[in-house]
């Protein structure tokens, strides 16, 4: 269930859009801020608040990588962009470096549940490629060394 605070925020968000369905993305983001992912109950609550069908919320949640419809196992969710700009500038090497550093494959989680690694399509930061997103933070102009330092900093 969503807290009253989130529901109030959704009411505020609703007012910014011509129809409630357009508010779905922002409302879902608000819902996700509560615990870092959205559950079935959350999606139903967002649908209820926006007077749309739950499946319409799931459509949005399932389409964009920024929503975690399933809870990532690790405390930190590392998403490496592998779209055109990032790939041209060596995203492949970055992914390989992370896999080696953590000893896991893409899509897996470290044994201590510290980090979940996944890849993403364009995250909209082509000017600073290659890049990755850890939880809500962007890490840009990556090099193999820089990545190693960042990963070590994750507790």
């Amino acid at each position: 269930m969503l807290t009253d605070k989130t529901l109030e925020e959704i009411e505020r968000i609703k007012k910014k859009y011509p129809n409630t369905k357009s508010a779905c993305m922002e409302a879902l983001q608000a819902a996700q801020r509560e615990k870092g992912h959205v559950t079935e109950c959350d999606m139903r609550a967002v649908a209820e608040a926006l007077d749309i069908e739950p499946v319409e919320v799931q459509e949005v949640g399932g389409f964009y990588t920024m929503y975690n419809v399933e809870k990532p196992k690790g405390r930190h969710h590392v998403q490496v962009c592998r779209n055109l700009s990032c790939s041209l500038l060596g995203a492949e090497h970055i992914i390989l470096a992370i896999e080696q550093e953590l000893g896991i494959k893409t899509g897996e989680t470290t044994e201590d549940d510290r980090i979940t690694l996944s890849t993403a399509e364009c995250l909209g930061s082509c000017g600073t490629a290659p890049m990755m997103q850890i939880n809500d933070e962007f890490h840009e102009d990556l090099t193999v060394d820089k990545v190693s330092d960042i990963l070590k900093g994750l507790k």
Partner: protein, 838 residues
């Protein structure tokens, strides 16, 4: 107009026509997947790509409009190659399990690959596997996503046509799956439109699963009998068992592929083992099988001993035109009585007022024409439940043609979401609400409207008073009046609540007169709930007028209510009931039971042993609509043929023959003897009912579809002054107003005998406003006892949003817990109490 060339052939089409349609007009069919005429354009499957002269890249025909002097080629080598490539691409992720797929044989992908290739696929990647086993989405729908071609027709049809939107596209790219929320069971209309539009075997019917191949089915193209929308449907059977009903591309009805849950899944009642197959006569208190000769002899004997005015007939408005015409003829010319009615629910006066208000006695009007008006105003109808396919048409046509929809109703319904203005009025106060709208229009155009007949009856009324009486805010009344006043043309769709509650016909008459005087084009379309209700009235199966609404030579007869009243005094010698269940339907069950018991001799002709049949003296087995020939007239006035799929069961006979036989026994001048068939009766109808003069029916269907011309007599409208414009008074003991109507999944004996529909609605329910339920300590799913002055019953509670707080709804057709036990004779809106516990 735009002139262009398709494969060298020159044609002219309207501006904005899609290349796909232009090519079709020129005689070239372009293959499509994601395109569906009723739906918004998507252009995602790329199956329809064609070559346009001067353009290097191929273009999708289903989203590209024509331009002047375009040169289009649809059958070049390049186009054929591209089609084969698109199919190769689609097949790269397709399960290719045709041998076990229900769709095989009528699969669009199969047909397309057969026609356009490729013979070999080159993709080496693994197929996407969404799941191993098929999963159910509802009691009637089962899903296999591995066969999906991602055309999204299911998602669009659910949203744009059905208006539910419970299907979505989850994920993206090759991982995209069209399914329900978290693949759970759907809480929807269960209409199966997703199954119908699915080009492959991704959505399937559960009842039809692994049952048959399409080429093994015998079928008949006929008219669905569940409501007066009159959808053309194909009923299919194998080895004597009715297996499915389907509206496909090739059924060519005005409904296209649209059917509702009742129409698509509700025809298994035809296989029900409880169908009547032999005449039954009451001997020493029990019904025992007898021969037809014996049964008819008994009727002859009883009729001889009866006085004409003590004989009556009540027929179902689901019989064919021919049968109803014959019945009223037998009653009027044979028996010599006008005691003939085609509804046990409504009084003759109320139905006559409705006929006058909606001009049913005039010419027919198609829904499509109605939807050409600027504004569509739906009143007195729960169209989403009673006429689901009409509701679909209003929804998608108003969206694609950008029309305004306004709804005024007692209960909330699905169409509200597609409406720009929604007004919720109190039950029995539609008249007051319409008077408010007319008053507003009148106040603004007094000089122009002062000559309109009946406008004087508005004197003494005020918007304020009418707003209070109807429960609609003055602002809403004004908004609706404003919208009507700014429209060039208005369509008013008027439903059965106006007859059920005897309410609003005066307001409707005056409103349409006023709008006409204001130089607007006004269309009025009746929305009816029995398949041949309009036909029944056209045929004169009504105590107050004869065929074609002609004036009766003798006295008017008694309607069903009056016949029961007479019976209760012991003055009815014989009552002949065909296909109607008076005990289940007459709005006062206790009274009906008492009256029926006192009928001298009760003859019930039906396909099931109804409650009324159980107390009859003689029961005659009739034929269902797939076992007889004839025509029915839908609410639009469209005459459509029904054609037999098989012979009547056992000793059962076609109803027309039974009625004619009874006629021939009592006729004095031999007018009912000889070869009487649906065709010969139709010839009589054409002579007797002027509107049907042009109707021509043959193997292909009926032409001169919409009945035309003007009836001989125009019925009189009631005036607004006669409408009830007082405020409803509170009742402490029984705080709720009970309203009734058809349920989406049930409309009486037929739906009750369908095992599929019984899965969708398991027990009688009562609908209540969610806030009201909360404040009374009730929650969705509770068992509640409903009590009124007339009686009580137990129902399962369903809460509804946006409902009027004091109004509760129980469908009128539950077999057990029938709502008529809560009614008292003459009471339109019973007051009830709702309490927790059984």
């Amino acid at each position: 107009m735009v002139t262009l060339k398709v494969n060298g052939k020159e044609i002219s089409v309207a501006d904005g026509t899609l290349i796909l349609d232009a090519a079709k007009e020129a005689g070239f069919v372009i293959p499509t997947f994601c395109y569906q005429a009723e739906l918004s354009s998507l252009g995602s499957c790329r199956m329809c790509i064609i070559e346009i002269g001067g353009q290097k890249k191929l273009q999708p025909a289903c989203i590209t409009p024509v331009l002047q002097d375009m040169e289009i080629s649809t059958e070049t080598e390049q186009v054929e190659d591209a089609r084969a490539s698109m199919l190769e691409f689609l097949l790269s992720n397709h399960a290719l399990d045709c041998p076990v797929c229900d769709k095989a044989g009528e699969c669009e992908l199969q047909d397309m690959v057969h026609k356009h290739g490729p013979r070999k696929g080159r993709f080496a990647e693994m197929r996407e596997t969404f799941h191993v086993k098929d999963y159910p989405l509802s009691p009637v729908i089962v899903k296999n996503s591995n066969r999906c071609v991602q055309c999204m027709r299911c998602v669009r049809v659910c949203k744009e046509v059905v208006g539910r939107g419970v299907l979505g596209t989850i994920g993206r790219g090759a991982h995209q799956e069209e399914t329900s929320f978290l693949k759970g069971e759907l809480d929807c209309d269960h209409c199966g439109m997703c199954i119908e539009v699915c080009p492959v075997g991704c959505f399937m019917r559960r009842p039809y699963r692994y049952k048959s191949r399409p080429w093994d089915l015998n079928s008949t193209k006929t008219v669905c009998q569940y409501c007066a929308t009159g959808c053309i449907t194909k009923i299919e059977e194998r080895d004597g068992e009715v297996i499915r009903s389907i509206a496909s591309k090739d059924t060519e009805g005005f409904n296209g592929r649209m059917l509702c849950s009742r129409g698509r899944f509700g025809h298994d009642f035809l296989n029900n083992e409880e169908r009547l197959t032999t005449p039954l006569l009451r001997v020493n208190g029990t019904l025992e099988p007898v021969s037809w000769d014996k049964a008819l002899d008994v009727i002859k004997d009883k009729l001889k001993k009866s006085q004409p005015d003590r004989v009556g007939a009540v027929a179902s408005a689901r019989l064919t035109n021919e049968e109803l015409y014959m019945l009223q003829k037998v009653m009027r010319e044979g028996v010599g009585s006008s005691n003939v009615d085609a509804s046990s629910r409504w009084s003759a006066g109320d139905s006559e007022a409705f006929i006058a208000a909606t001009a049913i006695d005039g010419a027919g009007l198609s829904i499509d024409n109605c939807m050409e008006a600027d504004t569509i105003f739906v009143v007195g109808s729960h169209i989403s439940d009673e006429n689901p396919v009409t509701d679909y048409m209003v929804r998608y046509l108003s969206a694609s043609r950008r029309k305004t929809v306004m709804v005024a109703s007692v209960r909330p319904m699905k169409l509200d979401r597609s409406a720009q203005i929604t007004a919720r009025h109190m039950p029995g106060r539609l008249g007051a609400f319409l008077a408010g709208v007319t008053l507003k229009l009148y106040e603004e155009n007094k000089t122009k409207l002062s000559g309109v007949k009946g406008v004087k009856s508005l004197d003494g009324l005020s918007i304020d008073k009418l707003s209070k009486a109807s429960g609609v805010a003055p602002g809403d009344i004004e908004a609706i009046a404003k919208k009507l006043s700014s429209s060039q043309s208005v369509s008013i769709m008027a439903g059965t609540d106006m007859i059920r509650l005897g309410d609003g016909t005066g307001g409707l008459c005056l409103l349409s007169d006023i709008l006409k005087t204001l130089d607007k084009r006004v269309f009025v379309l009746p929305l009816l709930d029995r398949s041949n209700q309009r036909g029944a009235w056209d045929m004169g199966a009504h105590p107050n007028f004869g065929p074609g609404y002609s004036e009766l030579k003798g006295d008017t007869g008694l309607d069903c209510g009056a016949m029961l009243e007479k019976a209760s005094k012991g003055e009815m010698d014989l009552l002949y009931v065909i296909g109607d269940d008076i005990l289940a339907m007459y709005p006062d069950r206790a009274f009906a039971e008492g009256a029926i018991e006192k009928v001298g001799f009760l003859v019930v002709q039906d396909i099931f042993l109804s409650d009324t049949g159980k107390v009859a003296d003689l029961v005659l087995p009739g034929a269902s609509f797939v076992e007889k020939t004839g025509t029915v007239t839908n609410q639009e006035g469209r005459v459509q043929p029904i054609k037999p799929l098989r012979k009547p069961l056992g000793k059962a006979r076609e109803d027309l023959n039974i009625i004619a036989d009874i006629g021939s026994m009592i006729s004095k001048n031999g007018s009912f003897t000889g070869d009487i068939t649906a065709e010969t009766v139709m010839e009589d109808i054409k002579k007797d009912v002027p509107m049907y003069g042009d109707v021509e029916c043959d193997e292909q269907g009926c032409r001169g579809f919409l009945i035309g011309g003007v009836a001989r007599r125009s019925l009189k409208c009631i005036s607004v002054g006669e409408e009830d414009t007082t405020e409803l008074k509170e009742n402490k003991k029984y705080p709720y107003y009970l309203v009734t109507g058809n349920h989406l999944f049930g409309s009486g004996t037929l739906t009750g005998s369908s095992s599929m529909l019984r899965k969708l609605i398991k027990e009688p329910t009562i609908e209540m406003c969610i806030e009201e339920a909360k404040s009374s300590g009730l929650t969705d799913g509770d068992m509640v006892t409903v009590e009124s002055d007339g009686g009580n019953g137990k129902y399962r509670l369903q809460t509804r949003k946006k409902s009027s707080s004091k109004v509760v709804f129980i469908a009128e057709n539950f077999n057990e817990g029938s709502v008529n036990r809560l009614y008292k004779i003459g009471e339109r809106v019973p007051r009830v109490s709702v309490n927790k516990g059984a």
